[in-house]
């Protein structure tokens, strides 16, 4: 039957999309290889100005993601199950090493490319769940790659790139969110070990991670010459069979496929050689990666916004009420058009910030403050644009927007994440007020 179909369709001049895809569906059995997506490639975002490498990343990551349809993410979201095979698929094709040095088995690309990757993931429909499944492996490994000892790098990085180990980031605490310098989890030196006690919260992927990049206090707040010199960074094993480590999943609004946790340390012992850089330098090292994370999150927000807007526009074109597509009504069309402009503007801000971040490594005329203002602005703008796009996508769908089957409710629940994390909108406004406008610090 296939071969008859095969020989017939070639005779028709108009076979391309439908028949080629139909054949692919019949033929493809091995999930290892590509599954040509059956959705039309109608991408809203204008990609003019992206570099060849960025476009190559977008195309290739998009192909990997196309094997994980929206039904996959709906299902995992409802069952609260980790997207292990999605993480494994990205790892197998080398994507987790995108911004790690080539000497360690990475690909040595910049944050400009990593941001494209994160955006492509959320935009594919995977949403924040897809992004968070890999985010820490891309981002939290940056300070390690830069400040870790040769031994630490050799032992850890290849395992993370290959996907054998997953990592999580342990900074946030219940009583020290944005006020990182006040964090209270302690690491006390005892011979060849440190003893960790305290609590971390909102640790993404804690349940599935075998490594943690941990920020802990090695000097009491009062005893340190400066508050910023009292913290140290560690790359530790999360060994649940050892005493002193336990964690609890947090029930949450969105991105339910990916776990977020409270992690409790009570005399958990780690070898002293897990210290990254020098004791007391932890805060400085962590700060180093923060602007990069802002860029990545801005990209993730953008992808979510474009995914929702793409879906809303499609629905508005197809849904007929009162004998006309609802998109013909300006009350429906204008909010979506407005969202498009905001997303495009946020896109420019995001990739501008990412470019600055990468360029600042070799161009000393670009100060960290300039990068900081750009990266924070991008995160703020992208998160707000995504939020508005997701909300309007739900509204454009009317009642169907409330149904899980249409995906927009899932993205809407998830789009609060980039508004809240890794830094709140209010703290960004504070920062920009202080750094860009020269206003007095308010806190």
């Amino acid at each position: 039957m296939c071969s008859i179909l095969n020989s017939r369709i070639w005779q028709s001049s108009c076979w391309r999309a439908s028949s080629y895809k139909r054949l692919q569906r019949q033929i493809i059995t091995k999930s290892k290889h590509r599954n040509l997506s059956c959705t039309a490639h109608r991408r809203l975002m204008d990609t003019t100005g992206f570099s060849e490498t960025q476009l190559a990343v977008r195309a290739a990551v998009g192909q990997v993601c196309s094997r994980f349809p929206n039904t996959y993410w709906q299902d995992l979201d409802q069952k609260e199950q980790d997207p292990k095979d999605f993480h494994a698929a990205l790892a197998r094709d080398g994507w987790l090493g995108i911004a790690l040095p080539e000497t360690l088995g990475g690909s040595g690309l910049g944050i400009s490319e990593a941001t494209v990757m994160m955006q492509t993931i959320t935009e594919s429909g995977a949403g924040m769940a897809g992004a968070q499944a890999v985010h820490a492996n891309v981002y939290a490994t940056q300070p390690l790659a830069r400040f870790g000892s040769d031994e630490q790098l050799r032992e850890t990085i290849p395992g993370i790139i290959s996907g054998r180990w997953r990592t999580c980031f342990g900074v946030t605490e219940p009583n020290a969110g944005l006020d990182t310098l006040r964090l209270s989890t302690t690491a006390k030196r005892e011979g060849d070990e440190y003893v960790i006690s305290g609590q971390k919260i909102w640790t993404t992927c804690g349940q599935v991670a075998s490594k943690m990049i941990l920020l802990a206090r090695t000097t009491a707040y009062e005893d340190a010459p400066r508050p910023s010199q009292a913290l140290s960074l560690f790359c530790i094993d999360l060994d649940r069979t050892q005493p002193g480590l336990s964690m609890r999943k947090i029930k949450k609004m969105g991105g339910r496929a990916v776990d977020a946790n409270e992690v409790f340390f009570d005399g958990y012992r780690i070898p002293a050689n897990t210290l990254i850089g020098e004791e007391g330098q932890g805060f400085k090292i962590v700060l180093h990666g923060m602007n990069a994370e802002r860029c990545l999150l801005a990209g993730e927000a953008l992808g979510l916004g474009y995914a929702a807007l793409t879906r809303a526009a499609k629905y508005a074109r197809e849904r007929v009420v009162f004998q006309r597509p609802i998109g013909m009504n300006q009350g429906v069309a204008h909010p979506l058009a407005d969202s498009y402009m905001h997303l495009e503007a946020a896109k420019l801000a995001t990739y501008h910030a990412a470019r600055l971040y990468d360029a600042s490594k070799t161009d000393s005329s670009i100060t960290q403050e300039v990068v900081g203002v750009a990266a924070n602005s991008a995160k703020y703008l992208a998160a707000e644009a995504a939020f508005t796009a997701c909300e309007r996508a739900v509204l454009a769908h009317g009642g169907m927007g409330y149904a899980a089957e249409y995906d927009v409710e899932r993205w809407f629940r998830e789009c609060l994440v980039p508004r809240l994390a890794p830094v709140s909108r209010e703290m960004i406004l504070n920062y920009v007020g202080e750094k860009a406008l020269g206003l007095p610090k308010s806190y």
């Binding site: 008859i4 590509r34 040509l36 190559a56 040595g108």
Partner: protein, 258 residues
Amino acid sequence: MSALRILVPVKRVIDYAVKPRVNKAQTGVETAGVKHSMNPFDDLSVEESVRIREKKRAPGGVEDICAFSAGPPKAQEILRTAMAMGADRGIHVEIKDGEELEPLTVAKLLKKSVEEQKSNLVILGKQSIDDDAGQTGQMLAGLLNWPQATQASKIEFGENDSVTVTKEIDGGVETVRAKLPMVITTDLRLNTPRYATLPNIMKAKKKKLDKKTLEDYGLTNDKRLKVLKVTEPPQRQGGGKVEDVDGLIGKLKELGAL
């Protein structure tokens, strides 16, 4: 057995998932701002060449896999894709944006390239999904006076340079055998192409890509065909419903179909 020197011609076409639109002047389809990618059948050719090497299927081994494309400057992107999938190097014959080559010109170009590269196997897609001409492979075999096996769904290598190819034909398969050098065209069931992995995309950036022109091969873009007009297929008319089988037969008779 001789070591294989495989030439893999690839073409940049409008992505298979995009619905092409006829341009306003009705001289062709709109290509500006439209997603392009490698012709899907050429994807299969690249994949097969790489698999022949990886699975050590050819007794003499694979010495070289050279991807070849004639097209606009952006055709380089698909050569990079081919190299990211595993081709060793690329040759780009640059054609001005908007210009098209007819199959015979492509076949002549490939013949020159085969001679220059000392290729002994050419694996190419059985057609490209833009003009669906389906002629290049056959013309190339004719010009080279080499054996050809079209619409391959399986390629096997034997002793003394023999190659056995299973071909898809109406209602079944046909198995043919020939000796190198030869031309093979690929069909959909041959394999499932891989994704380019990130490390391989990075490696491909460093692989050699030679730039050439038609003049380098002593050729000009001669046209034997003139496109008079390109139009959309006619809009489909809505169907009608009949009550029962008798109604259907009556209707078919009325329309002269029975």
